[in-house]
């Protein structure tokens, strides 16, 4: 099956000097949640805006569902749904009017009454846009992105401004969207969001794409060391270094940290049992996407 989105050597320069996107290539497969992860100003939004046809690339090739979004925008009407990072609706426009309007822009639109319920906007249906809170606006924009029942939907920083409970609900709904076969492109700077939702993540830094893989794959490839931690009073622990997969053993006060790869937890546990030890707080700390990100870009996402 051909990819839903193909981006080849995308480059976007603003003015003469500002290189927003240097050279980015990737493909998005049908039915996956594809994440663009990076700090602010990394070039994520510019990249998706080029893919959406909102900006003209300086160089490179972009195809969405086999079409060039700049020259064949009409062919993509309703097949692409967008939640933009910076956009607004007229202040006095009511929630139901916005949904009704955007539903009328594309044939095959879903029943927006369902969307209004799903996204928790039912009691706000007659509220004007200006009276909505940040989270409510965000949910309305996501609902608008979905109203044409698109084949691919772009969500740019969709959970920014949502409270933790609303984020969880949004995540569940995104998984439901994908469950219906819709391809999702998720732009985010939240590691937990990318890790939880994305089938594949592209790490973007300074206008370049520095790695693409599943969240787990990125971890295995770039930061494979996991840590097994437990509490133990024994002063002498050298025997742990012989455990298969262990790279190092460190004592931090009463806590012992064994760092290594493979099925480390099982081997450490077996070794402990062999010595007649049974610490009740034995656990494994897996490297997170954040660790990988730090390793890949050399800086934290908030920087």
């Amino acid at each position: 099956m051909p990819p839903v989105i193909t981006v080849e050597h995308l480059r976007k320069v603003y003015g003469h000097h500002v290189i927003a996107v240097d050279d980015i290539s990737f493909e998005v497969e049908r039915g996956e949640i594809f994440g663009l992860l990076g700090s602010n100003g990394a070039g994520k939004t510019t990249t998706v805006e080029c893919v959406q046809g909102l900006r003209t690339p300086t160089a490179g090739k972009v195809r969405v569902l086999g079409k060039d979004p700049r020259t064949h925008a009409g062919d993509l009407r309703g097949r692409m749904g967008c939640q933009l990072q910076e956009s607004r609706l007229p202040d006095h426009l009511k929630v139901w009017e916005a949904l009704d309007l955007f539903a009328s822009l594309a044939p095959g639109a879903v029943d927006w009454q369902t969307l209004i319920e799903q996204w928790g906007l039912a009691e706000k249906r007659n509220a004007s846009f200006s009276s909505l809170s940040g989270g409510q606006r965000q949910r309305l924009f996501i609902a608008l992105a979905l109203v044409s029942s698109p084949e691919v939907v772009f969500l740019d920083e969709m959970t920014t401004g949502l409270d933790p409970a609303a984020r969880r609900i949004a995540w569940d709904l995104i998984e439901k969207i994908r469950g219906r076969g819709t391809t999702v492109v998720l732009v985010t700077h939240f590691m937990d969001e990318a890790e939880r939702l994305c089938d594949r993540v592209a790490v973007v830094d300074k206008g370049n794409l520095i790695a693409v893989d599943t969240p787990r794959g990125l971890v295995v490839r770039y930061d494979p060391l996991e840590q097994v931690v437990f509490t133990c009073e024994l002063p002498e622990l050298e025997w742990l270094e012989g455990v298969p997969g262990a790279r190092s053993v460190t004592r931090r006060g009463r806590r012992v940290v064994v760092e290594g790869t493979g099925a480390l937890l099982v081997h450490v546990a077996a070794a402990l049992v062999e010595r007649g030890l049974a610490p009740d707080d034995l656990r494994v700390i897996e490297p997170s996407l954040e660790d990988v990100f730090l390793k890949l870009t050399g800086h934290l996402v908030e920087d």
Partner: protein, 270 residues
């Protein structure tokens, strides 16, 4: 849904059932109309202000031909002079106050980006504003005419057809001016300021409030450069005498075309 169903609905989506630009235009126009009516500025400047001024002028001058002075109001009753003039003022108010504020707001606030991402054509965005403005103008004009007819014995327009034609021409000219302002002004506040200034300058120097006969030469010379002067002439001719002022009509048509073309060229997506 079966595979077939999905495929055929996809096909239909890109085939003939593609929503026509006209339908989108009408839908947007209806929404714009509702939005304008929720805006206090519309109520004040398009509906209330002209009627209030008509009331003041009517109470001061009455409607006796030459009732105050033989030389003013072109020999007709003051209210027969002012009713068409204020219909022209309504079209101006919609054009220079409502439209620029709305269009700059859409551009700078990200509303246009939102529309564009959903592939709403720009001509539909601009067109819906202009159509909504025309409808608002009709409501405002009917209010002015009805007020004059009920409270002062104004005569029925001598040529309703010419009045209607003139009204459309005035609306088009001021809508084009307003759209151009909306395209060049950097922010809604700047647009509103410029619009209000144009509104008051035209209100007082075009013969719509102060009759031409009592204006100084300087005022008249300035008035010659103001579109409202021609709009007032055109509508007064149709109202009293049933004549068509070709000079005024041509000037207004020229303004409509030039400003309209310019604004389409200048107006950009956010």
């Amino acid at each position: 849904m079966t595979q077939d169903g999905t495929a055929s609905s996809r096909a239909a989506r890109h085939g003939v059932s593609h929503p026509g630009g006209l339908r989108v235009l009408l839908k947007l126009t209806w929404i714009e109309l509702k939005l304008f009516l929720r805006e206090p500025m519309t109520i004040v400047f398009t509906f209330a202000f002209p009627v209030v001024l008509m009331f003041v002028l009517g109470e001061v001058f009455g409607n006796q031909p030459g009732g105050t002075d033989e030389r003013v109001f072109e020999g007709v009753g003051a209210m027969n002079y002012y009713a068409p003039a204020y219909i022209a003022v309504v079209t101006m108010s919609v054009g220079v106050i409502m439209l620029p504020a709305r269009l700059t707001d859409y551009r700078s606030g990200g509303v246009l980006r939102r529309f564009r991402a959903s592939l709403v054509p720009i001509w539909a965005v601009l067109g819906s504003q202009v159509l909504a403005a025309l409808v608002l103008g009709v409501i405002g004009a009917v209010l002015v005419a009805a007020f004059a007819a009920v409270f002062y014995p104004v005569h029925f327009p001598d040529s309703l057809a010419l009045l209607a034609a003139g009204f459309v021409l005035c609306s088009a000219a001021f809508a084009a001016v307003g759209t151009l302002l909306g395209a060049v002004m950097p922010s809604p506040r700047a647009a509103q300021g410029a619009g209000l200034m144009l509104f008051f300058v035209m209100l007082f120097l075009s013969g719509a409030s102060v009759p031409m006969e009592v204006m100084s030469d300087t005022m008249k010379r300035i008035g010659d450069f103001l579109p409202l002067t021609y709009a007032v002439d055109l509508l007064q001719g149709a109202w009293s005498g049933g004549t068509w002022d070709w000079t005024a009509a041509l000037v207004l048509a020229g303004i409509a075309v030039v400003a309209g073309v310019l604004s389409l060229r200048v107006y950009r997506w956010g």
